[in-house]
Symmetry: C2
DNA sequence: TATGCTGTGTGAAACCATTCACAGCGCCGG
DNA sequence: CCGGCGCTGTGAATGGTTTCACACAGCATA
């Protein structure tokens, strides 16, 4: 593979001229310009991203740090970011932290010397990333936090309206007549889990309801957590007639626990999840959920990062995306007391056609 | 952030010595060595990966090209590769092709000048990648193909035993008494789809069965494909009593089509999928499937790539991983003719505990 | 004592693109 | 006719690391 010097020789121009033609960084008269372009075409020359990055103190790399790509929520985020990156000539470096702060630090440290233009982070926990990411900012890299925010974050961010989503879902359940409500929240040191719980409580308050703290269970954002906490909830007296699961994985675990207990969803107990993952369409019953678009989350974040690279001193942007309650088969009015299982089933959106 | 020169000055040694200490590339006497290490520690010096890569014609980057991270099979592959990469001080660059050959080429071209040490590819189609990847090989990069192979591939690879898996699943269905078997295969220009079909046919042949080509439907590896082709199969006379779906997404579509037709799985018709994704545990009925480990696929590929980097001229390795039939609730003996729906349900592995 | 060898350390060259100060040229206005 | 300006193009300096040829000291051998 040739280098720029050879292109310059072949085109009979100087090194600088080749660079100017390639980067459109100065006027070059047509004949010379053409000679350079021809030389590039015939040799198949490609500039070394390494040399370029070294010189410019910045590469066309976007680094992305997420908890775990195996969690079905994150592939969408990654894909959204990768699409925007690719469309703009950037590459995406993917790092998994497993929500382990130490691992997050290792990634953060190791990535720095690749001089990425941007860094998109889903923070692993509530530790203060401001200090860590400052070195990136100093190096001229854009830093964008998404999904949840570290403590005291005052930089660019993309999140969703967690409280509103949870509020809406909870209100819906109350509207159906549920009075024994429960919530299974994610780890409360995560801002998104906190906000969802806030929305839940706000809806209860609005309805003049008050619930025993035991009906709000905190756990990890996964199936195992949902399974375990649902088992606990099912033993409580009175048994909740509806559960707000603060993400879909928790909801999945809840569904399994309900089935294992010999109960039926939604006849005995209603479930609403959060995220609206694809897999909520193939569970039985199909899971109602507060939908958010992981793809959009990632795409907006990448765009935000690129915008920041282009315009370093524009005002901070904190984008908040909307959620949308998608009611499917896992919700119904509460069973009437001392009744045989009620056989009502609400079928609203069957979005099969859209995806299948 | 300091550079090597400053470390050299601080430690009172030459540039070369710093390099030797850091890379353990020559003996350095203890006192000097310690001075260097101290200087590094106090300054928090980190070598520039860009300069290093430029000089060594190779970076600690592994590039990974996959069809689409949104497809639930691939996150596991990516995670496996990232873990191995990370453990060895490498970073993973992720690229999605959407099975679009043009996009694959763009990624291949763009990635090259980052000088990755390795390239892990799930080929988008049957085009001959040998030529394209040769330029990587020439540049000293290791190229590993996984999951499916491009035409005439003679380099390193990691695949699974597709034919054996399909053979096993099909034989199992035959053993249950099924005689009206159908298969929904993936795109037959993909080697894995081909091999799974081969396994299906081999099992039929072994049992002395012959089937009408109409019972073998080819489609894309997704839910929409499975849904559409199942609708076709359900209209055929005689209606198949069992379907081998050549991946889980197809199986998912099949399940939905069966439900929509007012039929029941497994009472009316049995389904076995392929891949054994997590989501097969939360469908209803739980989906039987030929399990493979995407994580292992990715991990082995990354290890293979790193091994090749370390030992350029070791013999080519073509690793073939095993599959494992996981029987859950979506299979049963065929319904007896003119019978009411049979209520047999085979419950073998409930691997809930393992995962939840 | 001269020679040769081993073990350490040095500093310049090389990798390749970008950028900056400057030079050459043609043209305009004075 | 000259000074000055705008437009193009030049080539050297720059960025940070690795590596190679070489130097030097100390020691053993002839």
């Amino acid at each position: 593979m040739p280098n720029m010097k050879q292109i310059a020789e072949l085109a009979g121009v100087s090194l600088g001229t080749v660079s100017h033609v390639l980067n459109d960084t100065a006027r070059v008269r047509e004949p010379l310009r053409k000679r350079v372009l021809d030389a590039v075409k015939t040799t198949g020359y490609q500039p070394s991203q390494l040399a370029r990055g070294l010189r410019r103190d910045k590469t066309n790399i976007l680094a992305m740090i997420i908890p775990d790509i195996l969690n079905p929520f994150f592939p969408g985020v990654v894909r959204g970011a990768e699409d925007v990156a690719f469309a703009n000539g950037y590459r995406l470096v993917l790092c998994n932290t497993d929500n382990d702060h130490a691992k997050e630090m290792m990634h953060l440290n190791a990535l720095r010397t690749y001089l990425p233009s941007g860094l998109i982070v889903i923070p692993s926990d509530f530790s203060d990333l401001t200090a860590q990411t400052e070195s990136y900012r100093n190096a001229g890299a854009a830093v964008v936090c998404i999904d949840r925010l570290p403590r005291n974050w005052d930089g660019d961010s993309v999140t969703i309206n967690n409280a509103a989503g949870a509020y809406h879902a909870t209100s819906y359940l109350i509207g159906l007549g549920h009075r024994q409500l429960a919530a299974i929240t994610g780890p409360l040191h995560l801002t998104n889990a906190q906000d969802r719980l806030k929305g839940f409580r706000r809806a209860l308050k609005k309805a003049g309801m008050d619930i025993d703290p035991g009906y709000m269970q905190e756990t990890t954002f996964d199936r195992a957590g949902g399974f375990a906490k649902t088992k606990i909830l099912l033993k409580m007296i009175p048994r909740p007639t509806a559960i707000l699961a603060c993400n879909d994985m928790i909801a999945l675990g809840a569904l399994l626990a309900i089935r294992e207990a010999g109960l039926h969803c939604p006849d005995d107990i209603s479930i609403i999840g959060f995220d609206g993952l694809d897999l909520t369409e193939t569970t039985s019953p199909q899971l109602s959920s507060v939908y958010q678009s992981p793809y959009q989350l990632g795409a907006e974040a990448a765009q935000l990062a690129l915008d920041r690279v282009a315009q370093k001193d524009s005002p901070v942007r904190q984008i908040v995306l909307k959620t949308e309650l998608r009611v499917r088969d896992s919700v119904a009015p509460p069973p009437k007391k001392d009744d045989a299982p009620v056989l009502i089933s609400l079928k609203k959106s069957r979005s099969l056609a859209a995806r299948a």
